[in-house]
Amino acid sequence: MARKSGRNSPKKTIHRGVASKDFYRKDKNQLRRRHKFKSHSHRLALQKKYFLESETGSDSQDTKRNSPIYSFSTDIPEYYQESYICALPINPDFLFTYWEISPDYVAQKIKEAETDLNLFLRIRKKASLENDHQTDLSDDGDDVSPFVKPEEDIKYLISNTIGDMVIEIPDTEDSYVMEIVHASESGDDILLASHEIIDTFSQDSEVVLYCNDDLVDANEYFDDKEQCSQEKKTKESIGELDYKLCTKDYRQYLGSASYEN
């Protein structure tokens, strides 16, 4: 897999249950900085830093001309005292994920599990309908969601309750659930946060020369799409398109909009 330019190099591979997966991690200083908790804060503590001209005293004319007469705070929180994990596709090969587990929540879970904190980022592949999947059961015995076998889950050991990571997508065109779990000594995973199913996509380079799909008339389509879909207007075959000439090699044009003189 070609490495994406500009990203940090892969530093460490931690896995359980499946073949190793490369991943990229933010630099340690950044993670450490983000990891600091403000113990006193339930809500976000934002400084009221703006001030009006009348409050600035007697600046000279020159200073006034080139300096702002008021400014806004740029202090933003490092964390939100919430538990969440989010994931976004970067491209067909990589996902960006970030998470935060609130310290109160972590403390409660550790207390319940009676072990040290043992955090993992878990990636669960959602089974397709054809797959022979097993079903997770929640505490009350209800079906939660179909996943492939747990031994096929991918896990990354994470040392921070706040962090982010770029992850290579195991298989394109599949659906995944991202989770932060605490692995207890008994081997059970305690779910701390999860992100809804994220569908990845393929970068299918195969271009069909001619596809037999019907054409649909705009007037019907825009007026009543649902009805229109039942009344597709078939056109005669137009013969084979030479896509090489029509489109050249699309890959060389990806991102060509980044003009530089």
């Binding site: 001309r65 008021y70 989010c86 705009a218 879909s229 597709k232 137009i238 044009y253 003189n261």
Partner: protein, 533 residues
């Protein structure tokens, strides 16, 4: 008369995407970043309006598609920025007059100095006397006369694929943009330029809600559509999920203009962007025309042509550059003719060749761009019969039968997906943006009937969120120039938003703070926070 009655072999859909981030600093007498707008006015927007006027005066028909983003419309209509632009252009005229004196004994530069003075005087006349400071009126005039099809964009050019976790946030970007379009252009937009051409499957549902009938997608967004479109990017497809048409960018015509290696703008005869007298001349001389604190900046007066890649540059010759621009326009037209001829022979209709560009490429980065466009439009009208200019709406009217397919996730950024806006230099912003979006939806739902200062605070929260979402900040952070400003703007909007949120939650809204924000970040004065419900 039907403007398309001559049955050409293909159609050329030129799309100019005009956008600048919302930069307005009433707290400072001078802010360098405001120059982005002034430079674009002098080098792109006003020359384009002048070009359109000249074409109409000469009886040359044309059909162009332009996206004018809501931040740009807001800035063009802002009285403070209008006043400041007038001050800016007056200073440029003063400088150009001094340059004519200074170059009196330098014939290789003197005619160029005279050209600049003429150009700046034209800009001031157009800006002040013809449009009364409101350049948007000019674009509206050409839309009303049927020469331009103006489309909208995301409210603040937020990169929508990175907002897809929260459909309400995406919806707010689209609905706010449509409302802004109505306010400025007195009609509904037919189409949209998706910010950064960023599309993800499912977005069409929200576009459809906003009554948008078409958008543009990057080449591979159409080529990887499901099912594969039989005409590639040379005919629109109708999205599966909702009644919206998608037009794909033609890679070949894009490359001829965009490419820094093979593209026209890199021709040795064209003006060199980087050799500016703001950096070349003595500080004593140039000081009144650069940043007041002594930072050298581009003034817009440049005397050299690209020449080659070395630092030794030859003087710019306007006439030579015009000859090359005419030649490039002819080359572009010839290639589109050949493209159309071939495609016409294998399609059941004339193809549409969609060629979108950043409007600011024309004039700002590529100084001769507006003239190239001028030559191209005239050549298409008078020198051939194979292709015609068209807009997406007109093409859909002429050829309403199209394939149904779902375009794939794509953007026109480097790499073709989200790599530019999810980069190690900017990915920190999303933790905050997503939390803000959640909080905005939460308050919009819990306080749908807010009045008075709470309502004002909620509306301002919506503005701060939209401004923080602008893709420009992430783009700048990734590219590494002006990073400090982009980071500051992002953090300011986040901090402003979170403070308002805290104040509303604790029932302690500071009216002075809200008023200050309303006067400072005054984009979308009519916004209703309920757009997030």
């Amino acid at each position: 008369m039907n403007r398309y009655e001559s049955n050409p072999k293909g159609y050329l859909c030129l799309v100019l995407h005009a956008h600048l981030p919302f930069v307005r600093h009433p707290e400072c007498d001078y802010m360098m970043e405001e120059n982005w707008l002034y430079e674009a006015l002098t080098e792109t927007y006003l020359p384009l309006l002048s070009l359109f006027d000249n074409l109409i005066d000469d009886g040359v028909p044309f059909r162009l598609t332009m996206s004018l983003t809501p931040p740009l419309c807001s800035m063009l209509s802002d009285s403070l920025l209008q006043e400041r632009y007038l001050r800016h252009i007056n200073k440029l005229i003063e400088l150009a007059e001094k340059e004519i004196e200074r170059t009196a004994n330098q014939p290789e530069f003197h005619s160029t100095a005279q050209f600049y003075l003429g150009r700046f005087l034209m800009c001031r006349n157009l800006f002040e006397n013809v449009y009364g400071g409101d350049v948007l009126r000019g674009f509206k005039k050409f839309q009303d006369s049927g020469h331009l099809e103006i489309i909208t964009c995301g409210a603040t050019h937020g990169f929508l694929p990175n907002m897809q976790l929260n459909p309400n946030a995406v919806r707010a970007q689209i609905i706010t943009a449509v409302n802004s379009y109505r306010k400025f252009l007195d009609r509904d937009p037919a189409g949209i330029w998706l910010p950064e051409c960023g599309f993800y499957p499912g977005l069409e549902m929200i576009l459809s809600e906003a009554k948008i009938r078409y958008f543009f997608a990057e080449t591979h967004g159409i080529l990887f559509a499901d099912p594969k479109p039989q005409f590639g990017v040379f005919a629109p497809v109708y999205c599966k999920g909702a009644p919206v048409a998608a037009f794909g960018r033609d890679a070949e015509s894009s490359r001829q203009v965009w490419s820094s290696q093979e593209g026209y703008p890199g021709d040795p005869a064209y003006r060199d962007f980087y050799r500016d007298i703001g950096f070349d001349l003595d500080m004593d001389y140039i000081a009144p025309y650069i940043d007041p604190i002594g930072i050298r900046i581009n003034t817009g007066i440049k005397y050299y042509r690209i020449t080659n890649k070395s630092a030794d540059k030859l003087p710019y010759n306007r006439d030579d550059a015009m000859r090359v621009a005419a030649m490039h326009a002819g080359n572009f037209m010839f290639n589109r003719e050949k493209q159309a001829e071939y495609l016409y022979s294998i399609m059941d209709r004339p193809p549409i060749i969609v060629a979108p560009y950043d409007a600011e490429l024309f004039g700002h980065w590529w100084y001769e761009g507006p003239e190239w466009l001028n030559f191209l439009i005239r050549k298409i009208e008078f020198e051939q019969n194979n292709i015609q200019m068209i807009t997406p709406s007109d093409y859909l009217s002429l050829y309403p039968s199209n394939q149904v397919a779902e375009p794939s996730f794509s953007s026109w950024g480097e790499g073709g997906y989200s790599d530019v806006w999810l980069h190690k230099n900017n990915d920190w912003i999303y933790r905050h943006l997503h939390r803000m979006e959640e909080r905005m939806v939460e308050l919009a739902r819990s306080k749908p009937l807010a009045e008075g200062i709470i309502k004002r605070a909620l509306n301002q929260m919506a503005r701060e969120l939209l401004l923080a979402e602008s893709s420009d900040w992430a783009f700048i952070m990734k590219n590494g120039t002006m990073v400090q400003y982009a980071v500051r703007r992002t953090k300011e909007h986040i901090a402003n938003f979170l403070r308002l949120y805290e104040d509303i939650c604790s029932d302690r809204v500071d009216e002075n703070f809200v008023s200050l924000l309303e006067s400072h970040n005054n984009i979308f004065p009519e916004i209703d926070y309920n757009v997030y419900r």
